[in-house]
């Protein structure tokens, strides 16, 4: 199951900072993807996320997210110009079919590409969060907000590796049969088995006192050096992204005619995002002792 992001402890600033801070850092990078359409800014956010992943020692795991993000981005990029006809610059005159015109415009094509890039930024940023932020610690943060929802999420998180192992075992068992069974039979049996597994894990949760659980007590821990570094960068990325948006930096007008702002502001914004994404991992203070599973 290479498409399931798995968290492992590593000696990096992102792993060492408290979960809420590290998650905020990833969310700040995702926020850039949500606020901007400008290719330079989106490219900076994507590059910044991948560089941060490399700095955190999870570059290879985060690159794996592109196996999911790229096809999805490509799909968005291809579908948008086909279904959206707006734009003055005609690239392909497609004629009329099914009661509508099928023209392809430059503006719709670029809009599709930018939407695809946005999708990639969001997926890669949240993937980084999945591989670099301890899910247990993150769920503990959420348990103070919504206890039962967070525990249900814990249960679902725990079931993912269990079910992945079940699926792998069932596939091996199918290979051991003299006549290979149909995929439908294996899938149906795997689904029935996953229900049994879910019941077993839910029973274990009951035995840990889940039914009577309340909101956990707040933990007051002093902020570590890594909390401050990562938190400051997360806050800076979020503030710069919002300020830039309010100031009109990185404006993109797609329709009816493509207009991209390309000035100093965009270059500064992109540079700042990349620099801040890398900042937690720069310098001697970022080096950590080795902590491995």
């Amino acid at each position: 199951m290479t498409l399931v992001p798995v968290y492992r402890r590593r000696p990096s600033a992102l792993h060492s900072a408290r979960a809420g801070v590290s998650a905020s850092f990833c969310c700040a990078l995702a926020l850039v993807g949500a606020l901007y359409q400008h290719p330079l800014v989106l490219g900076a956010a994507l590059a910044g996320t991948l560089l941060a992943a490399a700095g955190a020692g999870v570059g290879r795991e985060t690159l794996r997210s592109l196996r999911l993000a790229l096809p999805l981005a490509l799909l968005v990029a291809l579908v948008n110009p086909v279904v959206y006809q707006a734009g003055d610059t005609l690239l392909v005159r497609g004629g009329e079919a099914l009661g509508r015109r099928w023209d392809i415009t430059l503006e719709a094509t670029v809009a599709g590409g930018l939407a695809g890039l946005r999708v990639m930024v969001l997926i890669v940023a949240f993937w980084l969060m999945s591989v670099a932020v301890d899910p247990d610690a993150l769920l503990r943060v959420f348990r103070r907000v919504s206890y039962r929802s967070a525990l249900t999420a814990s249960l679902a998180t725990r079931l993912v590796p269990v079910l992945a192992r079940d699926a792998s075992r069932m596939s091996d068992a199918a290979r051991c049969r003299p006549v290979a069974p149909g995929r439908l039979a294996v899938t149906r049996s795997a689904l029935a088995g996953s229900l049994d597994r879910a019941v077993d894990v839910a029973a274990a949760l009951e035995l840990r006192g889940y039914a009577l659980a309340g909101r956990p007590a707040r933990r007051r821990l002093p902020h570590s050096r890594q909390d401050l570094r990562v938190g400051a960068c997360a806050l800076s990325i979020a503030l710069i992204a919002m300020a830039g948006r309010v100031a009109g930096a990185g404006e993109v007008d797609l329709y009816p005619r493509l207009e991209l702002a390309a000035g100093v502001a965009e270059a500064l914004l992109a540079g700042a995002i990349v620099a801040l994404a890398c900042a937690p991992f720069a310098g001697r203070g970022a080096r950590m002792g080795v902590a491995r599973d």
Binding site: P135, R177, A213
Partner: protein, 526 residues
């Protein structure tokens, strides 16, 4: 307050839509700080009783309960598992589903947070419990990177972290090798003695737990049929339900000696006292190696190395001849399962050569993975159903069959089709009672006498002694012993049968040991 940690009075329970009750008129009491073993054949109601004690029955599973069952003064019919969790910690059979969180530390913190403990108390209790159970080095590990034995310990720690007065364990040693199983039982004994925790353990292999126990409750068909100290239980089991007796007790019973010993130490002392201690074993000659034409599977210089990971198999050379009955033994992680997978062709060797003379059948650890259809008769034909002992059960859903029945059906599934030159079984005795193991040994002997090489990977030394004509002991991914059962199991400590320990390796099984003792008696030693 109550002076009994458990008080059952005519407690009955029936699962939803079940035709008959799973527990009937159960009445007993347990003292605080006691160590109790729950014995019984498969389907006798042991797991259901444990689930009732922790409140999963009836609150989680549904069904009808009557009578009274109180744990720490709380009626399980009125208080659910969440409330009972304060007084009782529970570890069910499959450790993989007993762990809820992604990290070990979070797993131990969860019950305390549910109990509303402040952060300081949580941190302190986690450290204390981890140190007490010897898992401090695992605290920062992810749960999906732990072995079965490690998961078992973590689940036990999560059950113990609130210092419950009662600890319930369902087949805790079934997935562990003899070394890890012994360690777990010693740990339970320590918890029982030092913390005063009352322990209730459901086990098929009672010989592991009986030395620590002060009480045995035996169930049959959902009824409590024996409630006695270990020695009285063994006397009862030897006379009434021999499969429940320990090998040492069966040895004494077959030799006509009494009382049955509860431990190996007692048995040795009794034999010494009666001047019946047999002479130490003379090693048997190793089984004859077959010619190349007899070979069913041949492995030459087989390595399995994980990229950036450990070496699983190291230069393994192994010949499996037609008709041989081979048992593969070794600690968890020694490479037994991988060896079987490579022999079948399910996993590729990174180096080396595997030759197969024909079809190789492999039954993996979870028989349920082979059963894909709604009805047993859709899995195999009528003849195979008969061989699986399921004649007349063709319309049953495989999920409704017992563990042993599922195992037998899955074995017929992998054997269907053309004749197999080798039949490989991975841990088929896990969680099975002695009666089932004897059935399995008999089916495997039939396969071997039909010309197949039969290889069973197991931790069960008693099964190995009764079934095998050759034992291969793996350690660190390579065979470290490959000889007759007497040579391998007769002189070992962990990888040895109880009877071998009692007789200094002169016999491995109760039947063989009893023969020796009877001969000594006839010689007029007494």
């Amino acid at each position: 307050m109550t002076d009994r940690i458990v008080r059952a009075d005519r407690f009955c329970f029936t699962y939803p839509e079940a035709p008959a009750p799973s527990l009937t008129d159960i009445s007993f009491t347990l003292e605080p700080g006691s160590f109790t073993v729950l014995a019984g054949l498969s389907g006798s109601g042991k797991s259901t009783l444990l689930r009732a004690l922790c409140g999963l029955v009836p609150h989680f599973h549904g069904g009808d309960a009557s009578g009274d069952l109180q744990v720490a003064g709380m009626s399980v019919r009125e208080h659910g598992p969440g409330e009972l969790a304060a007084a009782c910690g529970t570890v069910l059979q499959d450790p993989e589903t007993q762990v809820v969180m992604g990290g070990v530390r979070a797993e131990l913190e969860l019950p305390l947070e549910h109990g509303g403990e402040p952060p300081g108390a949580v941190a302190c209790a986690v450290e204390e419990t981890a140190l007490a159970l010897g898992i401090a080095h695992l605290l920062d590990r992810r749960t999906d990177t732990l072995s079965g034995g490690e998961l078992q310990r973590v689940a036990l720690a999560a059950a113990m972290v609130r210092r419950p007065a009662l600890l319930l364990l369902d087949e805790p040693t079934s997935q562990l090798d003899p070394v890890a199983g012994d360690e777990l039982v010693w740990m339970l004994r320590r918890l029982n003695e030092e913390w005063g925790t009352a322990v209730v353990v459901a086990e098929h292999r009672t010989e592991r737990c009986l030395p620590a126990a002060d009480r045995v409750l035996a169930l049959a068909g959902g009824e409590l049929v024996c409630d006695a100290p270990p020695s009285d239980f063994l006397a009862w089991a030897s006379a009434s339900v021999p499969p429940l007796a320990t090998p040492a007790a069966r040895l004494f019973s077959l030799a006509g000696l009494s009382p049955p010993p509860a431990t190996v130490r007692e048995a040795r002392a009794a034999l010494r006292g009666a001047s019946l201690a047999p002479s130490p074993a003379r090693a048997e000659a190793a089984p004859r190696r077959r010619t190349r034409s007899d070979l069913a599977v041949r492995l030459r210089g087989v390595w399995v190395e994980i990229a950036d990971g450990p070496v699983i198999l190291r230069a393994v050379d192994l010949d499996l001849a037609s008709g041989e009955r081979v048992v593969l033994m070794g600690r968890n992680g020694a490479g037994k399962s991988t060896l079987l997978r490579v022999a079948k062709g399910l996993s590729e060797a990174t180096r080396g050569r595997v030759e197969r003379a024909g079809h190789v059948a492999l039954l993996l650890q979870n028989p349920g993975d082979y059963l894909l259809h709604e009805h047993a008769e859709e899995e195999v034909g009528p003849g195979a159903l008969l061989r699986a002992g399921l004649a007349g059960r063709g319309r049953s859903n495989p999920r409704d069959l017992s563990g042993g029945e599922r195992q037998r059906l899955a074995l017929e599934v992998v054997l269907s089709g053309s004749g197999s030159r080798a039949v490989l079984l991975d841990e088929p005795t896990r969680g099975m009672d002695r009666a089932y193991k004897e059935d399995l040994a008999s089916r495997c002997r039939d396969l071997a006498s039909g010309g197949a090489a039969v290889v069973v990977a197991t931790h069960d030394t008693e099964f190995a002694a009764g079934f095998a004509d050759r034992v291969v002991l793996l350690a660190g991914g390579a065979p470290v012993a490959d000889a007759s059962p007497t040579e391998v199991l007769g002189g070992g400590w962990h990888f040895s049968t109880d009877v071998a320990r009692i007789t200094d390796g002169a016999a491995l099984t109760p039947e063989a040991g009893a023969g020796l003792l009877r001969a000594r008696l006839e010689e007029g030693v007494l």
